[in-house]
């Protein structure tokens, strides 16, 4: 029973990710795209934690830990780049 729930939760989270993809695809600003990368980080971590229970592979928790650090590193890189290059967004990237 609980196995089914875990599996359903993982599939739900993956579907959630698919929704988040729309925001990356759409933008409109690069900040939005990074935001979605953040969403991917947070959701993949939850997927891995649940998968560790479902498949009974404890090592996946360590993978989740690595993924948290990784998402932070990517954001720092991106923020650094967009700051150092003045403006990463084209003028059209302004929001309403």
């Amino acid at each position: 029973m609980i196995d089914h729930l875990l599996a359903a939760a993982i599939v739900f989270l993956l579907a959630n990710l698919a929704l988040g993809l729309w925001r990356i695809w759409r933008g409109p600003t690069t900040a939005d795209r990074m935001l979605s990368a953040l969403l991917f980080g947070a959701t993949s971590v939850a997927v891995l934690i649940l998968m560790a229970e479902w498949q009974a592979i404890p090592a996946l928790r360590i993978v989740a830990l690595l993924l948290v650090m990784l998402a932070a590193i990517i954001t720092i890189t991106y923020a650094g780049i967009s700051r150092a290059s003045g403006s990463s967004d084209q003028p059209g990237g302004q929001q309403r």
Partner: protein, 311 residues
């Protein structure tokens, strides 16, 4: 439809969609971000396929370090105002489409044939499982990497070193600038203070645990490399052209220890590259971890050395 089938299908569709987005259409920056996300989802896919080792390596290197490398290269290209190439001609797209469809068909046919040919148990894996208990190493992947296919691994760290030397030769003896602007962000210090010691701790844990459970030198060095990249970007490590003996030593220590161990055992009548015991496995792994991590960080920084920066 079982849950497992749903997982297979949704991960496959997601990966295909992300690859499509990363490669075709849209701006290059969007493509790069999509590629990073592709790496994250691929890490989840490896986990789902039952390989935590590959998931760790993919998360830290495939998505993290590679993503940071490509983003920084994009930034450098923008700074030198490189001319962006025009769109390809329709004729060329048509030819490429035909080639790609043929290639896809060929790979699909080969792949499906190889799956269909998988009747019995895999012989090599069987032999591996039989031979593994004698070595005292519980993790089959570490066993393969260090004991059974040690020549591959030795050549592999030599290739990583060669890539560093070649990249240095390509960029020449000059300072490459890096986007290190977030140094004064108020929360950055706190983040670095927490993550840096934790990452070192987890890396050492992975190295030690890698003998028996998922983990090992490659995963640990991937994590350390990702940490190094973060420290460089947070302005805590600065690239320098000053050559330091320690950095040079750290670059080659993996290859050096592996070679010395491989040759040294011949003095005791063992064959070339034989591993005299589990202690040797851990020694080689530790040396490899240091070398690969520092090589990847220096490749990222595009420099000869690194120096710490005070606050």
């Amino acid at each position: 439809m079982t849950w497992a089938l749903m997982m297979d299908v949704s991960l496959a569709i997601g990966l295909l969609f992300l690859a499509w987005q990363a490669l075709i259409g849209g701006s290059l920056l969007r493509g790069i971000i999509m590629f990073i996300v592709f790496g994250m989802v691929l890490a989840v896919a490896w986990a789902w396929l039952g390989s935590p080792d590959l998931a760790m390596a993919e998360a830290a290197i495939g998505a993290g370090v590679t993503g940071a490398l490509i983003l920084v290269a994009y930034w450098r290209l923008k700074r030198v105002n490189a001319v962006e190439p025009a769109d390809p001609s329709p004729l060329r797209s048509g030819v490429a489409l035909v080639v790609a469809v043929l290639g896809t068909g060929l790979v699909a046919a080969l792949g499906l044939a190889s799956v269909a040919a998988l009747e019995g148990e895999p012989v090599a894996g069987q032999l591996l499982n039989e031979a593994l208990p004698e070595t005292g190493i519980g993790n089959p992947i570490t066993g393969v990497l260090i004991i059974f296919r040690s020549l591959d691994t030795l050549l592999e760290i030599a290739v990583v070193l060669a890539a560093y030397v070649a990249a240095r030769a390509a960029l020449g003896k000059r300072q490459v600038d890096l986007p290190t602007p977030s140094r004064d962000a108020p929360l950055m210090t706190a983040l670095v203070t927490v993550i840096a010691p934790l990452a070192v701790l987890v890396a050492i844990y992975l190295l030690k645990a890698g003998g028996q459970i998922p983990g090992g030198a490659f995963q640990a060095s991937a994590l350390l490399a990702a940490l190094g990249v973060m420290l460089v970007l947070a302005g805590r490590l600065e690239s320098t052209l000053a050559v330091s003996l320690w950095v040079r030593l750290a670059l080659i220590v993996g290859t050096l220890v592996f070679c010395l161990m491989g040759l040294g055992v011949m003095l005791f009548g063992l064959p070339l590259l034989a591993i005299p015991g589990t202690w040797a496995v851990y020694l080689i792994e530790a040396a490899m971890m240091v070398s690969i991590a520092i090589t990847l960080v220096l490749l990222f920084a595009g420099s000869d050395g690194l120096k710490g920066v005070g606050r």
